[in-house]
Symmetry: D2
Subunit: 374 residues, 4 copies
């Protein structure tokens, strides 16, 4: 099978190239790049020398030759390529946000500033978070008319952490009323900002420091809310704050989910603050078991055992989403920590997972990397 | 004035030595160390060479000679020294947790595992968060009977971020009922773990990674709750999660405060998620002004202007607490980000600030460092 | 084939476990650990969860069951295990320094402080730097009496950078007389220090800083000198200085080789310093071609093209040694930069490469990782 | 005294602003910036908020009002400002390379690509490395015609490490013949690259990695060679290789100086490699003492005692140059390690030191920062 990658020289594109080069079902790759058309991928990424050599062509050349097309372009410019693939009958897996909002053009336009050029494609596309929509992706198999929107990095870690609590009714009132929002406090490594240099990612300005950004205004907010609502089958209040941390890869999401009364374990007396009592430990174990059961058949979600806490270095260079389960000291709020490698489960690895599902391959194919702690 | 430092070779002790060596009211320093007694401070910290030279003596020698004693010992072993200072009439400023809980021995014992040896001292000691208790510290001046408990690093950043909202009634119901907890999601640099090597702070295991620790079970939880309750004059529900980030210095706290209805600005419709509207921006500005007014006379709190977000590299090597004010996208929750240098405002700088207040000096004396962004 | 790993919970051991778990010829692994005997590897390294599960046994149990034994113990304690393997006829690949000095017991004792317990084994063992001794490793195949000393991390990067210049007579007089030493200035990531916490590798003391250590006194000095002498067939003067850099993985070696007169390209006039002239550029290209030719059949050495400089992030997580070729501004000294991943080509990957050679497998088996730039 | 800073918003300019704001002789600062003219310095550097507030004016406005002018512009554009200051009789301290080569226009032009516009100024300017040219700077005092070229960052650390060996005749033959070059292998933190974002300093591409750059072709090469020649009073062969390390501040230089026969201590037998014998330790101590004596009156050079090795975290945020003295294992080569904070002793601190000398102030004024190890 020939894989085409449009936008192969950005970080997500290059990571796709690296991962797909070891994929058992991929014989060949055809790459495009606007910035480096005419050069070779290994001159842009010398780490590929002696292993991957491919000319950087036009997007048209990619679409003409490929059996499956991945688009790793910036937001807002991929629709014509999606259309071309659709018309030609080639599956199109889009790593940008362009197709993540289905037919909700208003939300897309509000956050990304552009209307849909081809609304009919958005009506047909599938949001490819396998743990939510595996069957919908599978349903596209063989149709020759597949557009898959690969999820955003933050929404992947946030949604996977919240899903079991939402699905199993742990959360206080869904849809939430006042005070029952899910708070998602997340931290991303710098590769999430892409390959283009800027002040925010200039080493002396972001190394050895931590801070939030785009508070209350990050584009991944509606995507997370939409995913939670899809799981709840009704609106869910979410609050999302991203932070930048001096790390190359990884997203850590700490998710606060107010528990319904029957799931709480502690005392409502806030005037006495004590270390977690046994009742809280037991309730945590119960919820952990519930999470583990929810994800028991998922190849890339690991619900961590008691005593192990999610951290980005435990999923580094892998397609795993690690989840650790905790309660706050008072037993009233579930605290879920999730860790992913933002370049893999948060981007290119998940795109390959979607390809595997779409083509009926082993979902793990090409994604068998074991995390390296450093 | 002669400053004595018990436990001078730990990180907080050594930082005290460094800062006090430039303090206009300190002529001399007398240092002690259990681990390095008999050596000189500059052999333990060669960065001090040619600038600071002092033998490492016993704690008794420090108490005998000093006009003010700082204790930078681990938790649980300082009470005898406090007693000795008290009996001698020398002010004792304690950087450990030993005196942070006043007469609430039950809470101290529950979290730190030890009963009080001298309850009478705890009844008299003052928790030295100047922005909360400046007058109580001042009241100790000249009594010759001063024990000041220097606040914990996390509680400093968390409390300063929450205080104005609590004091001004922005928060939904105080004391909170279900669902109205303040969530404090905080990240600390590694120096917070002290000088003793351990796996958690071993470079290959914590560099290039981020993760939470002691979720629902960190000792600073009751201290934060107590501070918030002191400001609210009634219990406040708080949830606190610390994270470790690959940073040398700094604590970033992101604080989620559910707003009372009259302080909310947005729409309660969680099915439509939009970028923040002008009403939210305006409300944010109003709350920012309120915060700025609350701290208008504080020398070390900076409420940041619109467009500037708290980050640890903006307070690096200084005694400032920076605060930035935000609302979530829906306008229902106040999001306050605070940044401090954990070694300075979070430990040794604040201890000096307390000394300055106690001795009627300019509160800024010895603490005039301007932050270096790198 | 069953692989046994003695000392599986140190960094090199765990990296072996991770890499071997994907090796096509390895069906099973038997692991030992003194520190964690009785536990499972995935509880020590939770990054392995759901992928690798194995009990930690005794070294004897490993030797009894394995078809090949890797020893990742600290220096000085492995000889009894080597003897046991030798007697049983099981190949023993030693990642420590114990067998690196062949029959030169005096040098080993001088630097490592211990005499040989079994000198007869050292007489038979082979130093497994494939680019130097591939044929000697191959000659052990099938003998059932194989002890292979896996090279040190620094010696690997240093030797591979110097070999072609030495072998092809580029260097001024071999053996050198005064002034013609090869200077090797190298920098290592922190994982080279192993898993045991210590002050030197405590995050706040080594992050955001760089400095040399053990100047003129590092144990890898005699190993490098011996390798260079083996290539030169006479003694070679080398000077070696290691540095610690705040990096997880990787060794960068910058190697200064004084050129013989006929290989120099510039002017001997040191009173006029100019940017490199065309003659120097041309000479650099000529030497680069010579290096490329020297390594043309090596699967894991990449001589980088003009314009690409060796850096540790270009070999990250791979078994490559990258080499870039430069001349100083005056054209009198060859400057070779080499980069390896210290955990892979500098330790566990090279050990697997040795196993592959010894067992007649594809030398690349299990080592096909493509470097990730971050 | 009013200090003017042209180019105040680059890193060196902003560091000048920060340091001068605490200088006892500076009452006021007048700042210029081409990029941010019309804004205020504290909006470009919010870390200055509440402490430093100044409008960003034109360079002409700075020159018109200042009693001393610092220029922190990029290379090649400052001569007109130097001329204006000279004509007005205001001392001009230039942090760029423009005046570092005195009347050697050919060398400047060869490396920086521009001829001199005002050769007469270069004939009068002084290269302000105090440890070399203090008296020449002092001689400008009161003339009203002072142009001081502040040294480059690498040349500062390299020159200070080599000077005593050169001056005291430790080095093998000066000027060197073949094989007796001084090798300077140096590593810089990322702030040395300035504030402008670029791929080389983009966090994901330089974090967690180390590599050399501009090998044999860095502009600081002729400056180092010129300084060494000035000390030797004849040409000296130097070889200089810069590296980039993932550090914010600091330059570490490891300097290899071939010793004259009478200064060597070991054996010339390169076939036997042993740990350093007592003779070598003694010779090291002797050379260390010689270095200490050479710098005994220097306020900002610290020759470290036995057992302490130069590292950038020991000079962090200070104006010190630390020097540690070592011999290679064979006793034939002196290895000197020097560490500076590239922003302070390597740029803005040294500029203030020059101002202090020129104006007859205490040379330490405004530069009394004690290094912080983190």
């Amino acid at each position: 099978m020939k894989a085409g990658i449009i936008g192969a020289t950005g970080y997500a594109g290059a990571e796709l190239v690296r991962l797909l080069s070891g994929h058992p079902a991929i014989d060949d790759m055809i790459l495009s790049s606007v910035s480096f058309e005419g050069e070779h991928i290994e001159s842009v990424y010398p780490n590929f020398l002696s292993r991957i050599s491919a000319p950087l062509l036009s997007a048209d050349a990619v679409i003409a030759a490929a059996d499956v097309v991945f688009s790793a372009l910036p937001h807002g410019i991929g629709e014509p390529f999606a259309k071309a693939c659709f018309d030609k009958g080639v599956p199109y897996i889009d790593l940008s946000a362009d197709f993540r909002f289905d037919d909700d053009e208003a939300t897309f336009k509000a956050w990304y500033g552009k209307p849909y050029a081809h609304p009919e494609l958005h009506a047909l596309s599938v949001y490819g978070l396998p743990e939510l929509n595996r069957k919908r992706v599978q349903a596209l198999a063989g149709t020759g008319k597949a557009i898959i929107a690969n999820p955003g990095c933050y929404p992947t870690g946030a949604s996977l952490g919240a899903f079991p609590a939402i699905a199993k009714g742990l959360m206080k009132e869904v849809p939430s009323r006042e005070g029952a929002a899910i708070v998602i406090d997340a931290a991303s490594g710098t590769s999430g900002g892409g390959r283009e240099p800027s002040r925010s990612f200039h080493y002396p300005e972001c190394a050895d420091s931590v801070g939030p950004y785009k508070v209350g205004a990050h584009r991944h907010t509606p995507e997370i809310a939409r995913n939670c609502a899809a799981m709840a089958k009704q609106p869910v209040a979410i609050i999302f704050t991203p932070h930048l941390v001096p790390v190359n890869r990884g997203i850590l999401s700490t998710i606060y989910i107010p528990l319904a009364a029957e799931w709480q374990a502690g005392s409502p007396d806030h005037s006495v603050i004590r270390p977690p009592a046994e009742a809280i430990t037991n309730q945590t174990a119960k919820i952990r078991a519930l999470y583990a059961d929810f994800y028991r058949d998922e190849p890339f979600v690991r619900v961590l055992p008691d005593g192990v806490t999610a951290a980005t270095n435990r999923v580094r260079q892998s397609n795993y989403c690690d989840i650790s389960i905790h309660l706050d000291h008072s037993g009233s709020t579930l605290i879920v920590a999730t860790a992913i490698d933002n370049m893999i489960k948060g981007a290119s690895g998940q795109a390959i997972q979607n390809m595997n599902i779409l083509f009926g391959l082993d979902e793990r194919a090409g994604l068998e990397m074991i995390p390296a702690i450093f």
